[in-house]
């Protein structure tokens, strides 16, 4: 398979670019909702449009009413989301939760999938338990209780948790906190009694919840997949989410870079366009090179995940780390090369810096993933 888009994928990229550039633009979405202090952090009308475009259910199997596409296609949409900083639950709901639900029974799918595809409902994914991503350790517990379970614990960084009609929760049903096995995924409905949200606004104006579970009673049919068999599903969810957030990061990097390169061609100092100064040219050219590489490895990782390759896990971590490095560079150089106005709220370049920071942390930063690359390579 060549490492560029085929005709269908190129067409999807074109469509996504146009849609996100117009409907999902910074002015129409991010600034609009931020400046109104929106408690959701994204627009439901736009989310409905996502559904009309077929984006919401793109990863859902065709048999279940979705489009049966893969990570390469989801990545195409996410790159445009990143480029336009479009706030939406696409990553959390249509990638993470949808990947988890793929592994559910027909009952579970029947209960949740159609509303996800139609855009009527939004779902979230609860994994982290602390400020740093560490999915190897899961302490939130679900004890057997009658025909169901009783869930207790606390989850952090549940993106768009408070706006979600259901949260997929990774909880421990056996073993000790650091065990690989003994994990079960549960679909916890919004109205479950004993679940409470502390919803907070993040630096990029997105919303995330600290979610507490205080003896939340769940039916047996809340289980996604097998009891104690949730680790493999969780791994699949993590892989999809990581390669997806890498794709969004590529979009952030490219958006910031394009803006900056444009600015170098407009701003004059010392009687010249600042883009004439070699000190800036070389840094811009280096940045271009880093962003190109980050983009290539992200598409590669997505192809490997879609193909079920044994190298998918390694290359996903490579992609997540590389994108973090490249996007971080893009936003830092972006703000710096804008000079004073780069520090203003009025200019968009700072918004890229903020989104990048949030994405860096989401599902593991560059240090976490470089560490995984080392482990997976045997050192």
């Amino acid at each position: 398979m060549p490492l560029y888009y085929d005709d269908d994928q190129a067409m999807l990229a074109e469509t996504a670019s146009q849609f996100m550039g117009e409907e999902g633009s910074i002015k129409n979405q991010l600034r609009h909702w931020r400046d109104r202090d929106c408690k959701d952090g994204f627009g439901h009308a736009l989310w409905k449009q996502f559904a009309e475009m077929g984006f919401t259910g793109m990863l859902v199997d065709e048999d279940d009413g979705g489009l049966g596409m893969g990570q390469v296609e989801a990545g195409i949409v996410l790159e445009e989301i990143g480029r336009n900083l479009t706030p939406s639950p696409f990553l959390s709901s249509s990638v993470l939760a949808a990947t988890a639900l793929k592994h559910g029974s027909n009952d579970v799918k029947g209960r949740w999938l159609s509303d996800l595809i139609s855009g009527d409902k939004v779902y979230a994914m609860a994994i982290d338990e602390g400020p740093k991503h560490r999915p190897e350790r899961i302490a939130t517990r679900a004890e057997k209780s009658g025909n169901g379970f009783r869930l207790s614990g606390k989850k952090d960084f549940v993106v768009y948790g408070a706006s979600s009609e259901m949260i997929v929760v990774a909880a421990r049903t056996s073993g000790s906190n650091d065990d690989k096995d003994g994990i079960t995924l549960f679909a916890v409905p919004q109205d479950a009694s004993g679940m409470s949200h502390d919803s907070v606004r993040l630096v990029d104006s997105s919303m995330a919840s600290h979610v507490s579970f205080d003896n939340v009673e769940l039916d047996g049919d809340a289980v996604i997949g097998e009891v104690d068999g949730g680790r493999t599903i969780l791994d699949a969810v993590l892989m999809a989410g990581r390669v997806g957030s890498a794709a969004e990061g590529v979009g952030v990097a490219r958006g910031a870079m394009d803006m900056t390169v444009d600015y170098l061609k407009q701003r004059k100092q010392f009687g010249r366009l600042i883009g004439e100064f070699q000190a800036l040219q070389h840094r811009a050219a280096h940045l271009y090179s880093e962003v190109e590489i980050a983009r290539a490895v992200t598409v590669k990782a997505a192809q490997l995940v879609d193909g079920g390759s044994e190298k998918a896990e390694l290359m996903t971590s490579v992609a997540k780390a590389k994108v973090a490095k490249a996007a971080g560079l893009a936003v830092r150089e972006g703000v710096q090369m804008h000079g004073g106005i780069g520090m203003t709220d009025e200019y968009d370049i700072g918004l890229y810096m903020k989104r990048d920071r949030a994405l860096q942390e989401f599902l593991g930063d560059q240090y976490y993933h470089a560490g995984r690359v080392a482990e997976l390579s045997g050192y």
Partner: protein, 394 residues
Amino acid sequence: MSDSDLEAFRAETRQWLEANCPPEMREPVRDEEDVYWGGRNASFKNDAQKAWFEACREKGYTVPEWPKEYGGAGLTPAQGKVLRQEMAAINARSPLSSFGIWMLGPALLHFGTEGQKQRFLNEITNGEIRWCQGYSEPGSGSDLVSMQTFGEDKGDHWVVNGQKIWTSYADEADWIFCLVRTDKDNKYQGITFMLFDMASDGVSTKPIKLISGNSPFCETFMDDVTVPKSYGEDIPGYVGEINRGWDVAKYLLGHEREMISATGGGDRATSLGAVTSRQGALDPVLRAEIAMFDVDALAYTAMSEKFMDELKSGKGHPAQPNMMKYAGTELNKRRNELVMAAGGSDALEWESEASNGGKAARGWLRTKANSIEGGTSEVMLNVISKRILDLPGA
């Protein structure tokens, strides 16, 4: 070609490699003699090297994607990729290394006459003639177009005088492709891309020793050298048009940069950490640096794949080889810095048997040239600024 045809080709290729690539040719290259360059004076290091080269020559696999009539195998880009993948999977060495393959060949395929292709391309694919590159001069490195070596027009030939420098393997090469000024009043349109025998009267070379202790490059002097305008019917002694050699030179540089980014670059699928940690536990901060390096290096392998795919399908940006050369060579330098750090005092040994004749230290020093030869990193960044980012005044 359908996927199933391609898979059939893969199976066939695997079988062919199994039958024809000797085990010795699947070992990593250890020294200069492990690389076969061909040429009039070439000798094989051992039977395995000879057998492998000859098998590939017969099959057209010294240059698999060149047309069959010039000694290639006429493979499609997709087949070429499969062959590269299958060779990489068994660590097969390249059967023939040659500036003819990497540099002159592509230029001839693009600009050459049929007569030139028939003669020179077949000599290249058969490993008969070894070429060297006469571009740089003492006063003209990055600013190559300022070069002064002059050829005086004498009707059916030129008389060439001047000096080239940093000419890799000039002392071992049979022929040279050489930039010669043929119009002093016209900077860009006053250069001719000439081809001549290094055994011609008036050509002499003087090796230059590198910091690595090796001396694979030379000063090349031309003192009243006669270069014929024709070597026979439809075989001009120059490529392209007279005074238009700069176009050929630039085209060739694109291929040179691809080659350096592919071979001298950081394109290794193996994890550096996996290799270096075999010598013993890595200090934690070094381990972290190596992990960060592995992220960059593995990401670059994907970029290389994408670059090749785009190149072969004509989708790539024409200036992208400059980006590849920049990123690949900088990565390779970083790799070698880390190899030295992981190796500690063992890696300092310069001659001992244990160090394989100072392989680590000499290799580390040699890689410093990667970001100089074929255009420096700074020049690559200038080109990216100008041709890809379209920055003003670049």
